[in-house]
Amino acid sequence: MSRNDLRARDLVRRYGGLTAVENVSMDVPRGQITGLIGPNGAGKSTLFSLLTGVEQPDGGKVLLGQRDITRMSPDARSRRGLVQTFQVPSLFPSLTVGDNLLVAAENRRRDYAGGLLGLKARGRASALAVVDEVLDSLELADIRGAVAGTLPTGALRLVEFARALCARPDVLLLDEPASGLDAAETDRFSALVRRIADEGVAILLVDHDVDLVFAVVDRVYAMVGGRVVAEGAPDVVRNDPTVRSVYLAQGPLASKSTSAPPPGGVSPPNGLSPLPQPAFPAAR
């Protein structure tokens, strides 16, 4: 299967008088992890909804490979390979973990008549194979038979991620995938995302946890007030004067939440210390 890139061109979204997203262009290339950061209200979530199709832009285009998918519904986009996960895990609580994954694995075919007549669906074996493979690679085989509604949050995130993988994505959009995970889980998760990207999937990571984003991504977009103010390699964006001033005005760059210290980092003492400077390996 040929992998596709996701590209956004001049996206605009207005709510009444407020322009939430203003002429944003963005590339999410295959095999790379692209990050999207920005303070609250910067337009990250709106941009994310425009990419997934939950909302329609007032201007601009979304392209998947060569194809214009701007007006496509979220499920049509997903069948073409653009798959998202949610800020709040969105499993189907009454189904087992295995069935949750199976729903995603068999999404490409829409054989309703056969289903109604009770015929065995074609391609069922291959769908099951995909589920088996994903369960094995994420070490989830143990909880395959568990009903999703009974799982703890950390497991929910992982299963949702597994479900997204079962949809065989070309592009994976992750909305705050690390919220609710502890430090160890976050580390494991970062490694996992890197592995998926190495397999040729294009990944967009939106997160408040700036440390996480800088640690794993190949390229970052920083949004402020509905515009992209900086883009490029993590080191470049980190030292961008606009980004620095925004984050310094808002508090520490790693201001994920007020209660918990950011995983993998130490809270700056007075909230005004300069950005963490250690040189991150840009990739791998």
Binding site: D75, F92, S94, A104, N107, G118
Partner: protein, 741 residues
């Protein structure tokens, strides 16, 4: 009559509709419950009012005070305290509150029908004198209209001031925002909610008393009339009082003005219907036009997952034990369904309705239980199926030739499919209350514009069914019904199993999540709507043949509400529940006076607060509970005093050498149960430590009790005081005990 005169006659109805709308809005804004029971309460109060004036001879003013100052608010307070406060306490979903209000509607309908019968009465007294006064020249206007208008203005002003200027208004807003949070900040949320209910039901009662003399008083008719005023509430988007009032007056006056025109031909017929049904048309149109209602909460009251207790059957292989139990259950069900074939002829005919009704209920299982969409218009599809079937069988369906009854039934049901598809269209983007109201409006419009029109629904005769020229006798007809039911069950099974079932449940459980992994949400919803309408239509056809006539009342809009409630009560996602519900309703209707089945469903619906998954899951849970209680019979309660506990332990150990060695050893070990933490786990906090100790103690106690049972019995036999403690055991001698019962 001139336009002005017509307008003035419209004002009265408009003012009443406005009062009703204000009542619904007040209840909704204070409690978050769209009160479908408004119609039922209005009717009940109107009947009581009439009873007091006409039968008991009370003066009108006294009767009015009793009805409006005591009875109506009393109903509201009672409902809040007994039904809706428990729901609010456990943060029930809006869908559950909706079903509870439907339950109250069904209950009040059942009470009214049970006490006063389903017949119409024309002697409902009027509060205001039936006089008119002259205004401006020779225009005359009724005193009642003026008084009603004055009432509307008073309510609007008082409520407006209350909301804007007083502490109470602020409290209401706080409670509406977040009941729990408001309570934490010291707002008496229960009082606010109770006040909202009392005011809402008082206005409902007022609506009923004012409407009754203008129309005939009959349980179904008046209730539906009040429900039609929901158009006003929808126009107000569930929020704005002034918009509601103006819409009410506007629709009523427009409806009145239409009376000065007449048209000929088919258009004229439709127009005539419009003249008396503008409210229900407005309800449908407004629902299709108004983009979004301002629903309280997250607006996700379409989440019907709370009605369902089970997920999809697991995709893996089932154990042989389960398969055998499954087959046994199916055989038992089939035997019960076949039983009427051995009944006396009259009883067999009564049983005709069971498979027919079961099919209609199955259609709701598909829609609500599996795909998670509320539908309050199922009677519309059932009625259309019946109508098409009869038209086809009679040979007057747009020039189609006469078709034998059986094939007409299947064809008629299939012809409803496109209608289900079209009416399912609005459902794609709608959920929650909007969807519930839209389906209700569709059902009501179909009923008013099709079923109640002599052009469509008269001169329909029901010939006995024939198969290959031979007339079906009663037994053969019942068997044919079972075949239809089997087809319906097969469809339901296929919709519930395999990838179709998984995808439908995925949409029901989390629509956005399903879309995110590529499940075709739109087409799945349409599919569910279409299939459900066909199944309902088949059921409708069978209902007509069962009753040997097409009766408009069988497919009245309120039937939809009753049927929906019944399906939820018996378990929305249970096909067996649907069949049992049908059997239950038919049995009660046959054995008890008319209206009893409505009453029974209403009572069960109110009990839904204690059995969230419906009756079927309550039964499933009940069996597990009985098993547990039986097991507990042999387990001393945790409150056993220390002396007794130590004595038991002693007895257990003492008896161990004498035969029950294993039990004794386990009992001794049981007293020393320790919770072992996994290697590498962090040390527990003080609270965790306490928790682990508690768990260990409990485990030790119950483990000891189970394992030392034989020796305990011996000890009880031996000691005099032990007989008291173990007294209940003597009634259950020698019952075997297993771990994990």
């Amino acid at each position: 009559m001139t336009s002005i005169d017509l307008a003035l006659t419209g004002i009265s109805l408009g003012a009443i509709a406005a009062l009703s709308g204000i009542g619904v809005l007040v209840t909704y804004r204070t409690n978050g419950v769209l009160n479908f029971a408004q119609g039922g309460i209005a009717t009940l109060v109107a009947y009581v009012f009439r009873e007091m004036v006409v039968e008991w001879g009370l003066p009108i003013w006294l009767a009015a005070i009793i009805a409006l100052a005591v009875l109506s608010p009393g109903i509201g307070l009672l409902l809040e305290r007994l039904v809706f406060r428990p729901l609010a306490r456990r943060r029930a979903s809006a869908a559950e509150s909706l079903v509870a209000s439907l339950g109250v509607l069904v209950l009040t309908l059942g009470m009214t029908a049970g006490i006063w019968g389903l017949g119409s009465r024309t002697d409902a007294p009027s509060i205001f004198p039936r006089e008119s006064v002259t205004l401006l020249g020779d225009t005359r206007v009724g005193v009642d209209a003026l008084a009603e208008l004055a009432l509307v203005v008073v309510f609007c002003v008082v409520l407006g001031l209350l909301a804007a200027k007083t502490r109470f208004g602020r409290q209401v807003r706080a409670v509406v925002d977040d009941r729990q949070l408001a309570e934490l900040s010291g707002v008496p949320a229960d009082k606010v909610a109770a006040a909202g209910w009392a005011l809402g039901t008082t206005l409902a009662g007022l609506t009923g008393i004012l409407l009754a003399p203008q129309f005939r008083l009959n349980p179904y008719g008046l209730t539906l009339l009040v429900l039609e005023t929901f158009a006003v509430v929808v126009a107000a988007r569930l929020a704005s009082l002034p918009v509601a009032v103006l819409t009410a007056l506007g629709i009523a006056i427009a409806q009145s003005e239409l009376k000065q025109f007449t048209f000929d031909g088919d258009l004229g017929t439709i127009f005539t219907v419009l003249q008396s049904n503008l409210f229900i048309v407005a309800l449908l149109v407004l629902l299709l036009v108004v983009p979004r209602l301002r629903e309280l909460g997250n607006g996700d009251s379409g989440a019907t997952g709370s009605f369902s207790s089970r997920g999809a059957p697991p995709s893996g292989p089932v154990s042989r034990y389960e398969a055998r139990r499954d087959i046994l259950g199916k055989l038992g069900g089939a035997a019960l369904l076949l039983a009427p074939l051995t009944f006396a002829p009259a009883d067999l005919r009564s049983a005709f309705m069971v498979p027919a009704l079961a099919l209609v209920f199955l259609s709701l299982v598909i829609l609500t239980g599996y795909s998670g969409q509320l539908s309050l218009g199922v009677a519309g599809y059932a009625g259309l199926g019946a109508l098409f079937t009869l038209k086809l069988a009679n040979g007057d369906f747009f020039g189609l030739p006469e078709i034998p009854g059986i094939w007409a039934m299947f064809l008629g049901a299939l012809m409803v499919a496109p209608i289900g598809l079209i009416t399912g269209w609005p459902a794609i983007r709608r959920r929650g209350l909007t969807l519930a109201l839209t389906t209700f409006a569709v059902g009501a419009v179909v009923s008013r514009f099709v079923f109640e029109q002599p052009d469509f629904a008269s001169g329909l005769y029901v010939d006995p069914l024939t198969l290959f020229g031979a007339e079906l006798n009663d037994k053969a007809f019942y068997f044919f019904e079972l075949v239809c039911l089997a087809i319906g069950l097969l469809v339901v099974r296929n919709l519930h199993h395999g990838r179709l079932g998984r995808a439908l449940l995925a949409v029901r459980d989390h629509t956005e999540g399903a879309a995110a992994v590529g499940v075709d949400v739109r087409n799945l919803k349409l599919l569910a709507f279409t299939i459900s309408s066909v199944v309902a239509a088949l059921g409708g056809g069978l209902i007509t043949f069962s009753a040997s006539s097409f009766a408009t009342d069988d497919f009245a809009p309120l039937q939809s509400l009753l049927w929906f409630t019944a399906v939820i009560v018996f378990g929305a996602d249970s096909a067996a529940g649907a069949i049992i519900a049908a059997g239950f309703i038919v049995a009660i209707d046959v054995l008890a006076p008319a209206g009893s089945s409505i009453l029974a469903v209403g009572i069960l619906a109110l009990a839904l607060g204690w059995m969230p998954g419906g009756l079927m899951s309550a039964v499933r849970g009940g069996i597990a509970w009985v098993a547990r209680v039986l097991a507990d019979e042999f387990v001393p309660s945790p409150h056993t005093d220390h002396a007794a506990a130590s004595r038991l332990t002693g007895a257990g150990s003492a008896a161990s050498p004498g035969g029950a060695g294993r039990a004794g050893a386990d009992g001794a070990a049981g007293s020393a149960v320790r919770v072992v933490l996994p290697a590498g786990a962090p040390a527990p906090t003080a609270f965790g430590e306490a928790l682990l100790t508690a768990v260990a103690t409990h485990t030790a106690r119950s483990g000891l009790a189970l394992e030392t049972l034989p020796s305990m019995r011996a000890a009880a036999d031996a000691s005099a005081d032990g007989q008291n403690r173990a007294g209940h055991r003597q009634r259950l001698p020698g019952l075997p005990v297993e771990r994990g019962v």
